[in-house]
Structures are given as C-alpha cells and as structure tokens.
Amino acid sequence: MEGSTIIFYLLALLTVVSGILAVTATNILRAAISLLFALIGIAGIYFWLDYQFIAAVQIVVYVGGIVVLIIFSIFLTQSAGEKMPSQKLGRTVFSALAAFCGFALVLIQLFQHNFPISKDLTLTPKVADIGTQMLGVKEEGYALPFELVSMLLLAALIGCIVIAMRSKPQTT
Amino acid sequence: MNLLLLLGIPLLTAVLVLMSRNQQQVKWVSFAGASVQLILSLALYYYFQKASASGATGMLFQQTYSWFPTWGINFHVGVDGIALAMILLTAFVVLAGVLVSWNVEKMTKEFYFLLILLSFGAYGFFISLDLFILFFFLEIAVIPKYLLIGIWGSGKKEYSANKLALMLMGGSALVLVGLLGVYFSGEERTFDLIKLSQLHLSPLTQKICFPLLFIGFGVFTALFPFHTWVPDGHSSAPTAGSMFLAGISMKLGGYGCLRVATFMMPDAAHQYAPYIIVLSSIAILYGAFATMMQKDLKYINAYSSISHCGFVLLGIGMLTKTALTGAVMQMVSHGLMTALFFAVIGMVYQRTHTRQVNEMGGLMKSMPFITTILFIVGLCSLGLPGLSGFVAEMTVFMGAWQNPGMFYRIATIAACMSIVVTAVYILRAIGKTAMGPIKEEFKNLPDASWNEKLAAGVLLAGILAIGLAPFWLNDLITPGTEIIINKLTGK
C-alpha cells in the first residue's frame, strides 16, 4: 500500500468519524470541535487531490470562519457545557434507518453509473488560472457569480447586523 | 338588432346603481333598467320575427369579436327562437324581481347591484354562441346568488348559500371538463358552438363528455340526485333571489343541457337518453311526492320546482321535436310561474311573517288580490288549461309519447302521474293558506301595493300570453328545436 493511499484512508476515517461525532456528541462544544476536525479532514482530502486552492479556502472560511462563528454563538446562547437534551429513541432509530437507506440508494445509483473516468488525472488547477477565470467576463469567466456572491454577502451582513444587534429591549 | 345592447343595458344599470346616492334612486334606476331591458327584449322579438318572416333561419343577429385568439375564443353571440324565449323570460322575471324587492331596506344598493349582475350573467349565457363565454356567463351568475342568499336570506341562510354555491360550482366544474374535452377533440381548437356542432365529434369524446356536460348543467336544473341545493337555496333566499334562482338560474342548466350537450353530441344523446329519462322521471315523481310532505310554502315551491324541472329534462331526453319544444316551453313556463309563486309567497310572508301553511288560513278575506294570484299560480303549477303550465306539460307529454317503445311509454305515464300529485299538494297548500277560517291577527292585513301588483301583473301577463295563445311561443321555438332534432336524427 502506498503512502498516499494510507493518508487517504486516514483522512477518510478522520472525516467520517468526526462527522459522526459532530452529530452525535452530547456536549455541544465537543460536537463543534468534531465538526472542526471533519472539516479539516475534508480540507485534507482536497490537498490529497491536489486542489490546494480550494483546500486553503476551506480552511480559511470554514475552520477559520464558520466554526469560530458557531463556537461564538454557542457561548452567546449560553449553552456550552450543558448536556444537550437527547432525542427520542424512536426518532433516532427512524432517522438512522432513513439516512442509511438513503445512503444505500445513493451508493447503488452511483455504482450503477459508469463515470467516464478521465485518463489524465494530473491536471490540477493553478491559482493564477482560478484568479483570471474568477474575474473573467468572457466564456468561462466567473465575474458575474462573483459579483452576485458579493451582493449576497452584503445582504447577509446587513441582515445579521439588524437581527443580531436588536436595539429594543425584550418585550415578551 | 345589436345583441350587445342586451348586455349593455344591465351593465349600465349596474354602474348607475352603484353611483346612486340614495335608496330611492337605486330602486328607480333598477326599475328603469329592467323596463328598458324588457322593451328591448320585446323589440328583439319583433325584429326576430321580421327577420324570420323574410326567410332567415338559424342563429340570427350574429356578432363575432375575437377575444382570446390564442385559444380560439371569440365573443360570438347570436339568438335563435329558443334563446329568445329564454331572454324574454329573463326580462320578465327581472322586472318583476326588481319590483317585489321594493322594500328591501338592508344594503339596498348592493342588493340591486347583485340582482342586475345576476341578470347580466343570464342574458350573456343565453346569447352566447361560444362555449367559453357561455361558461363565463354561467359562472358569473353563481356568486351573486350566494351573496343574495347569504346576506339577505332567512333561516339557515349561510348553510344554504354555501351548499348552493358549492353544488353549482361543482356542476360547472364538470361542465368545464366536458367543454375542454370537446375543445380538444376536434381538429380545430375552437369553442365555437356552431362550428363544433358541425364537426362530428368522435364517439369516445361524446361518450365521456356528454355525461359530464349533462350532469354539470343538470345540477343547475335540479337533476336528481343533484337537486338538494334547490329546497334549501330557494327557501333561504330573499324573495327576488328565489325568483331569480328558480325563474332564471335553473333555466341556465336546462338550456345548457339542450344547447350544449344534446346539440353537440347527438350520438351520446341517444346513448344516454334512457338514463336521462329514468333520472328525470324519478325527479318528477319523487319531487312531487316530497312536496306533498312540505309545510313551508317556499319548500313546497322549491320541491315542486324539482318536479317541474324534471319535465324539462324528460323532454330533452325524449329526443323528439315536440318533446324538445315542450322542454323549452316548460322552461319558460316554469320560469314565469315559479317566479310568480315566489313573489306571492314573499308578499304573504311579509304580511303574516310566517310561511308555514298550518299557521295561516282564510287569507282570501284580507288579501283578495294576493290570494287570487296564489290561486292562479297554483293552478298554473298543476297544469290548468289557459295557463302556461298546461301548454308546456302537454307538449312534453305529447312529444314524449312520440317516442315509441315500452320504456319511454312507461316513463311518460309515470311523468303524467305527477299531475295528480301536483294537484294534491297545490290544493293542500292553497286550501290551508287562502281558504278556511281566517285567524284574528290576519284579518286586517293590507293587500298588495302598487309595485307588487305590477310585478304580479308582469309575470301573469307572460303566463297568460303563453297559456291562452301558445302558438306564438311554439312558432318561436320550433325552428330552433328543428335544427337540433335534425342534427340528432342525422339529417
């Protein structure tokens, strides 16, 4: 077994196990940390695939941004450290079953399909290309979506400010 | 003559009613509008006769305006004798309805507006030659009824209004599906009644669409077992509402059954005729027997309407020329008669504050005019010669008997039997209200006022005009039914 293969399996294990922990841990902070590891694991897989740029973004945005946000919000809502109320067993079992069936179904579909796997697996995107394409306006240019996302971020920002910074005192 | 005038006048009246400043103005505007419309209808009759005399046949005064060209919808109007008869009926009933509502105090403007709107729908329906606008006008007439009953009605009005609106909408839903079936079956996408009637619709289409259309329209005209909106609706409605309901609205269904279902789909008409006849015979007898047990005057008339409208459907189901003519005559006759009946009931109720026959008695003493009208209308209902009911029923019977075959014969005889049952309940009702000893509290009740007299006179004129001299109506209708029957027999 090659080294990269081992690395891959380790990453996969990390991702899946922390993912499972993230949705099952009873301590919310622990769940958040597990999520962090799962995201890092995914970033690792990106690296493993030679998609460094996206891996970097993943780490910056997710690990550095979203998870931090989540942890902050955990503190803000004062629920850190408490044990979370557990779900009814019936629903848990049902959900697990549903998820598993869905998982199986998806896998069946994926494996039934014959993906035309490319011969040329060495092609990796270069950061410079990504940059030009991101701001390009012609064919294969992603300037418009980029602008769109910026509008969205603006809107989200304003929305967050208004909602979270509620000035009026609590009435109910 | 421009048929759009028939739509324009009610529309104008409605607008003027909305703009009126006080109750008095509302009433007079409506009265004027209805009168003008009646004159217009009579003028239409005159021009129609003139045109017929000069050899014109089929649909006269046709006008076509493109409306939704994508769908092939045209605003296509025209009249033949059948439609004209219905228009005349509507004009009479509307005028009378406006007159008997003279002392509606509550939301007068809205009341008259809805009345006029309802009549607008009816006129539009009768002159439509395009199935889409026919359907359009059919549905226009539903909501005014709902509101009239719900707002100005009495008794369990909300229940009745709901039931009526829902059942009628259900009926029109079936009509819609039937119409669409017809629409898509032809090579050409058209709603035009005349064009469609010239196509030979495929047997399958006919087989599916005919019952849809017939039952759909049948709901409007109290086809058994879809009649249950009739008693509740009529009894809860205000006087003019009941008049319009029974006098005009139920005729929309009969007219639709004849003009749309039967005319367009002759093969299916033959195929389904036995079912129609069974249902209508049941309606006739069953309605009559059910009437016998009613104690409320309005219920009596409502159930008897079921019975009488059964004759319309029976006539249509018999598929002979005379029977079809009879069906149309019965529509006109029943429209006038039942409107008058409801008007009289309204007048009685207004004075005695009861509609229970057992609580009245001897009213002839204090209100001779009203009871005389009650008598006449009752006699018309039980088919006395000289009044319109007789003419219409006899024409139906005569036409029904033209259809040989034991089944049809037995159905006809069954239908004939209703004349006895009708006599029983009508005489019972009249005997208990108008005759017998009078109660103390009813002794000094006033007789009809001018508007009521005029209203009764208008309708009575119609009833007598048909009853005493039926030939003009017969001559008016027959060319129309001839066309239908030619189509049915494949000539």
Partner: protein, 467 residues
C-alpha cells in the same frame, strides 16, 4: 459590451443601484421614514417603468446571463409586485426601525430573482436562488420583538438550507453525470440514465420546496404566519412567481428530454398539492396562514398549467402569475391594513366588517373571488387557461380533480366572504384609516383583477412574448 451590459441588465442594474443608494443612506446620517418611504416607492416605480424601455434580447458573460423579452416581462411582473408591496404595507413600514435595511434586503432578494430568471447555468441559478432566499429569511425576522417572527425565520432558513443541500447534491450528481452546468449544453447530454433521473429528482425537489409543492411545502404556512405581512406577501407573490418562471423554463428548455417523467411527476404532485392545500386551508382561522395554504393550492393549479409542456402552458402560467400578483396582494393588503391598525388577524375578527369598511370588504371579496377563479375577475381566466393548457394532454381524471378542487377552494374563500359580509359581530373591526398609497395600490389591484381578464390583449401580449 458596456452598452449591451447596461441595456440587457438594466433591471438588475437599477435594483443594484437602489440597493446602493439605500446602503449609503443607511451608512450616512439616516433619513426619517416619512421621507425615505416615498423615495423608495419612487425608486421602485422607476424600476418598474424602466422595464418597459430599451428592451433587447441577448447573452452576456459567456452565456451565464441571458435575457429575452419574456424574461423582461417576468421581471417586470416582479418589480410591479414589489412596488405594490411598498405601497400597501406603508403602515408597518413606517413604524419599522430598519426601513432602509428592510428594502435593502428585499431588493437583494429581488435582484436574486432577476438573476435567477436570467440564469444561464446551474451555478448562476443556485447563487441567485440563495440570494433570493437568505435575505428573505433575514427580513422574516424583522418583527424583531415577536416570537413568531423569529420562529418563522428560523424555520425558513433551516428548511431552505436543507433544501439547498438536496439541490446541491442533485446538481453535483448531474454535473458528475454530464460534465456541464450550462443550460444550453445540458439538454443534449441528458439521456435519461438512472443517475441523471436521480439527480433530476433532487433538483426537482428543491424547486418543489421553493414553490411549496406537497410534500415539500410544510415550512410555508408557518413562515407566512410568523413573518411580517410585507414579507409574507413578498414571499407568496414575488418569490413564488419567480420560482414558477424559472421552474417552467427549466423544465421546458433544459429538462425537455425528460418530459415524460416530469409530466407524471407534475400530475401526481399537483393533485396532492391541490388536495392538501385545500384541505388545510379549510380549517385555518389565521388569515395569513389561510392565504398560505390557499396559495399552496394555487401552486397546484400552476402545476396543472406547467404539465402541458406546450407554449400555451408557459403563457398561461405567466398570465396566471400576473393575475395572482394582483389578487393575492389585494388580499394581503387588506390583511395588512387591518392587522397593522387593530392587531386582528383571524377570520373571525373579520366578521361584520362590511358594515364598517365597505371599501376594504369589496376589495377583499374581489381578490378572493379572483383567487377562487370566479368570473368576471381575472382569476377566472387565469385558472381556466391553466386548466385548458393542462387539459391538452387529455387526462380527464386529472382535469376533473383539478376542476373539483376549484370547488373546494371556493368553499373556504367563501368562508371569508361570509364572515365579512354576512356574519354579525359584537365588535366588528373599527373603521380602518387607509393611507393614500395603500388606497392607490388597492385600487390598482382591484382594477387589475377586473380588467386583466376582460382586456384580452394583455394575454395576447404574453403569448406574443412566448411565441
């Protein structure tokens, strides 16, 4: 390129422009609501008017953005609806502490919808869909001190995030199976393989979620009920309209090779949608919630029209949405006025309203009749054309069910009419003071409801756009 850009994207640019104006206003000293609101209304009117000029068809950004006359018209319908909302909800808006932000977010969503309509590939579609959703989730919470408002926002954002996940999963599979996200290239690559179908169903479900199709509709009522009425009306009219447009475009243009599948899906789902929407609407007391379910049922009818798969279906849907804008906004407008001034929101509260508020009652009645599809209101034509379009495939049972559902829906619309006109109440709603702009909007809606059907050239115009 630049002039092309200016002309082809004029509507998007105008909206962006307004957004930035609002942003500067917000950042700057801030203007009183009384002055700001007319300004916004004016800007929105401009936005609407501009839609009628300089129309040109074309493609930008290498196919990511395209526009046609029909798309311009669709966007205009949305602009109009937004303008009407800004007129109708003045009462609530004036009281708002965050007027500028509110419009900023709402217009962002509108911008998202514009882009969604013009989207040329799945990425653009996804992004604009999110742009059209996330800000709305935020403004759903703008009744900041109301519990229900935040609950609604929460349900909206979580549900739509979940649906985004499903959508994205579908898109990723589709991408894997075809290698493209471009709308133009996709149809040729669709061969109906199971995986493609699988992916398509995921996509379809996401559409269904946004359009509130049963069983993906469950968030709708709660969100409608909890959100401020301005947001609810925006959601139910603008958002639904936009999704309907893109949905029908996607099905007709992109997924045409799968027509057999989606036709059957539409039949099943539209029956379910009409039935469930109607059955739930029957039992509602809260007016907004009632309208939510009724709008679900309306969506069922839209599906009937879409199922035709023919240009008639497209034109009928556009026409219906146009009518729906007027009808629904009129109903919401009345509800807003009442709720804002009296705090009453249930149908029982409307009892005996006619005595005190005849104008509002009539507007409400006409709007409800239009929604129920009663002539001569335009709703009749809208619904009839939808059904006619759907009937072209001649499935009698389907059409009968649709037609009978019209009857059920009539029942509950009449329930409201009955409360307003017939029932008596000890404490009817007092006389509502109708602001001028709201009155204008209600009149516009009323006129639209009455005239859109009778004036057939509107429909002809849509048909000419569809071609």
């Amino acid at each position: 390129m630049t002039t092309d850009l200016l002309i082809l994207m004029k509507q998007e640019l105008v909206v962006t422009f307004i957004i930035f104006i609002l942003l500067f206003i917000k950042i700057g000293k801030g203007i009183k609501n009384e002055t700001l609101l007319p300004l916004i209304q004016l800007l929105l009117l401009t936005n609407f008017v501009i839609g009628f000029f300089f129309n040109k068809e074309g493609i930008l950004f290498g196919g990511m953005y395209n526009t046609t006359a029909l798309m311009v018209f669709q966007k205009n319908i949305l602009s109009l609806a937004t303008y009407l909302i800004s007129l109708l909800c003045v009462g609530w808006l004036k009281k708002s502490d965050h007027l500028a932000e509110f419009f900023l977010l709402m217009l962002s969503a509108l911008l998202g919808m514009f882009f969604m309509i013009s989207a040329g590939n799945l990425l653009m579609f996804y992004l604009s869909l999110e742009l059209a959703t996330i800000p709305i989730a935020a403004i759903a919470n703008f009744d900041l001190e109301k519990r229900r408002s935040s609950e609604a926002a929460m349900k909206m954002i979580l549900s739509s995030a979940f649906s985004s996940g499903i959508l994205l999963f579908g898109i990723s599979l589709l991408y894997g199976a075809t290698g493209t996200i471009d709308f133009v290239a996709l149809p040729a690559l669709l061969n109906g393989s199971p995986l493609q179908l699988f992916a398509f169903i995921f996509l379809f479900a996401a559409f269904a979620f946004k359009l509130s199709i049963v069983p993906f509709h469950l968030y709708t009522a709660d969100v409608y009920e909890g959100a401020p009425i301005a947001v609810t009306s925006f959601l139910s009219v603008v958002s639904k309209g936009a999704i309907a447009f893109i949905f029908i475009t996607a099905l007709y243009k992109v997924f045409r090779p799968m027509e057999e599948v989606w036709y059957n899906m539409l039949v099943i789902l539209s029956v379910a949608t009409m039935l469930v929407g109607n059955l739930f609407a029957l039992r509602q007391q809260q007016f907004k919630r009632f309208l939510a379910f009724s709008s679900i049922a309306q969506v069922g009818f839209i599906l009937v029209g879409i199922s035709s798969g023919a240009p008639e279906g497209l034109s009928a849907v556009v026409y219906f949405v146009l009518i729906y804008v007027f009808s629904n906004l009129a109903a919401f407008g009345v509800a807003e006025l009442i709720s804002n001034q009296t705090g009453k929101e249930t149908i029982d509260d409307y009892k005996g309203m006619y005595a005190t508020n005849p104008f509002l009652s009539w507007v409400l009645a006409i709007a409800l009749f239009s929604l129920a599809g009663i002539p001569p209101t335009a709703g009749f034509f809208g619904k009839l054309f939808l059904i006619t379009a759907g009937a072209s495939k001649a499935s009698y049972w389907f059409i009968i069910i649709a037609a009978l559902n019209m009857m059920i829906s009539l029942f509950y619309y009449l329930k409201v009419v009955r409360a307003v006109f017939m029932d008596k109440s000890e404490q009817p709603i007092e006389k509502i003071n109708i602001p001028a702009s709201a009155k204008l909007a209600l009149l516009l809606c009323g006129a639209g409801i009455v005239l859109l059907g009778i004036l057939s050239w509107v429909y002809d115009y849509i048909v000419s756009l569809v071609k």
